[in-house]
């Protein structure tokens, strides 16, 4: 299962690369720089997916106290942090040539940075509490409260004045995107989701081994 996911993810990412660089035309206004979108947007969507899983698994853990839920929350949290980091870095690289700055404290960028810090804190907390059961309980509370920030990040560009443009994906209005660019984005989105599932499945297996060694 894990191996299959790995191959599917690899194929998807190759297809995404081909679509992003070989198929989709450059953007009329931004030129080739716009292709960073094919990494930037799937990254944050994957991070949303990961943190939504943390929320569900944390609720599951608090109600059932089964280790399986905790294992899922922890693993998804780790991967979510990686993809949020990727979003911040790719966004910064995209921002310099288009906006003219690497970083600015507008609501979207600030709330995304906070999202990153919340889940870094979530992982730190897990490492700090020695008692496994207690650590899992505390982390679950943070995993639930932290999810409040996900809609804030997404809708920040609609609620406040920002430098960042409004959302193209998951937007209340239909996205003004050429079909070829939209298709390339979709392929990359699916590829990133597959990569996430592969990493998650790997990490879950690893955690199971860790637990066996500790027991």
């Amino acid at each position: 299962m894990t191996r299959w996911l790995g191959w599917l993810a690899a194929l998807g990412l190759l297809a995404g690369l081909a679509m992003g660089f070989g198929y989709a035309p450059k953007d009329a206004v931004q030129g080739n720089v716009q292709r960073i979108m094919y990494v930037h947007v799937p990254s944050i969507l994957t991070a949303y997916l990961a943190f939504a899983l943390v929320l569900i698994a944390s609720l599951g853990y608090l109600f059932t106290r089964r280790t399986g839920w905790d294992r899922l929350a922890h693993s998804a949290g780790e991967i979510g942090v990686v993809f949020t980091g990727l979003t911040l870095v790719s966004g910064s690289i995209w921002g310099k040539p288009t906006w003219g700055t690497w970083w600015t404290w507008d609501a979207r960028l600030t709330s995304t940075a906070i999202l990153f810090l919340i889940y870094v804190g979530y992982l730190l907390l897990r490492g700090m509490v020695d008692d496994q059961e207690r650590g899992a309980r505390y982390a679950a509370v943070v995993g639930i409260l932290g999810a409040v920030n996900i809609p804030i990040v997404h809708f920040s560009v609609l609620w406040w004045r920002t430098l960042h443009q409004p959302p193209t994906i998951l937007s209340p209005e239909r996205a003004p995107v050429s079909a070829s660019i939209g298709l390339a984005l979709l392929v990359n989105g699916v590829a990133f989701a597959l990569l996430f599932l592969y990493l998650l499945s790997k990490r879950l297996a690893l955690r199971r081994l860790e637990e066996e060694i500790r027991a």
């Binding site: 992003g20 660089f21 070989g22 198929y23 989709a24 035309p25 450059k26 953007d27 009329a28 206004v29 931004q30 030129g31 080739n32 720089v33 716009q34 292709r35 979108m37 109600f63 040539p97 288009t98 906006w99 003219g100 700055t101 600015t104 404290w105 507008d106 609501a107 600030t110 639930i144 409260l145 409040v148 920030n149 804030i152 609620w159 406040w160 004045r161 920002t162 430098l163 443009q165 409004p166 959302p167 193209t168 937007s171 996205a175 003004p176 995107v177 050429s178 070829s180 660019i181």
Partner: protein, 148 residues
């Protein structure tokens, strides 16, 4: 009420309060940029502002030798003249959105220290010959004929 019910209710209240506090707090205190109308309403000379608006058509002047940039930012009702020394970002152009950081001067213009260009959430293929698939663009770039 069961223990679980109380927990759910309490948790729900905390989450709702937290969400509201963040929303209300940020709405009030974090105005990322002021509009030309808001700046004109109560301008304070020497105070640092971020000013956002549309670069008014036919207002943009740039001296590539001295790097003197001047333009007018407008919100449709009011406009503010802006001056800057430096090179604007590539996407900065007339009829597009921009956010500038700087101070209001007593001489009646905005002295910008940083120019940022806004871009829209539209992603469209260019028209005509330019609208070629990416691999042709890539080949051109590899041969050193494409633009970055």
């Amino acid at each position: 009420m069961s223990r679980r019910g109380k927990f759910l209710l309490g948790g729900g209240v905390i989450v709702a309060a937290l969400a509201y506090m963040i929303y209300a707090g940020v709405s009030q205190s974090v105005v990322y940029f002021v509009t030309p109308s808001e700046l004109r309403a109560q301008p304070v000379a020497g105070k640092a502002y971020r000013l956002g608006g549309m670069v008014q058509p036919a207002s943009l002047k740039w001296e590539p030798r001295s790097l003197d940039l001047s333009f007018t930012l407008s919100d449709g009702k009011t406009s503010v003249p802006v001056r800057h020394k430096g090179t604007p970002p590539d996407l900065f152009a007339e009829g597009r959105g921009a956010v500038v950081e700087g101070t209001w001067t007593t001489e009646g213009y905005f002295k910008a220290s940083l120019i940022m260009a806004k871009h829209s959430e539209e992603y469209k293929a260019p028209h005509g010959d330019e609208a070629q698939p990416g691999y042709k663009e890539l080949l051109k770039t590899l041969k050193g004929q494409g633009n970055p």
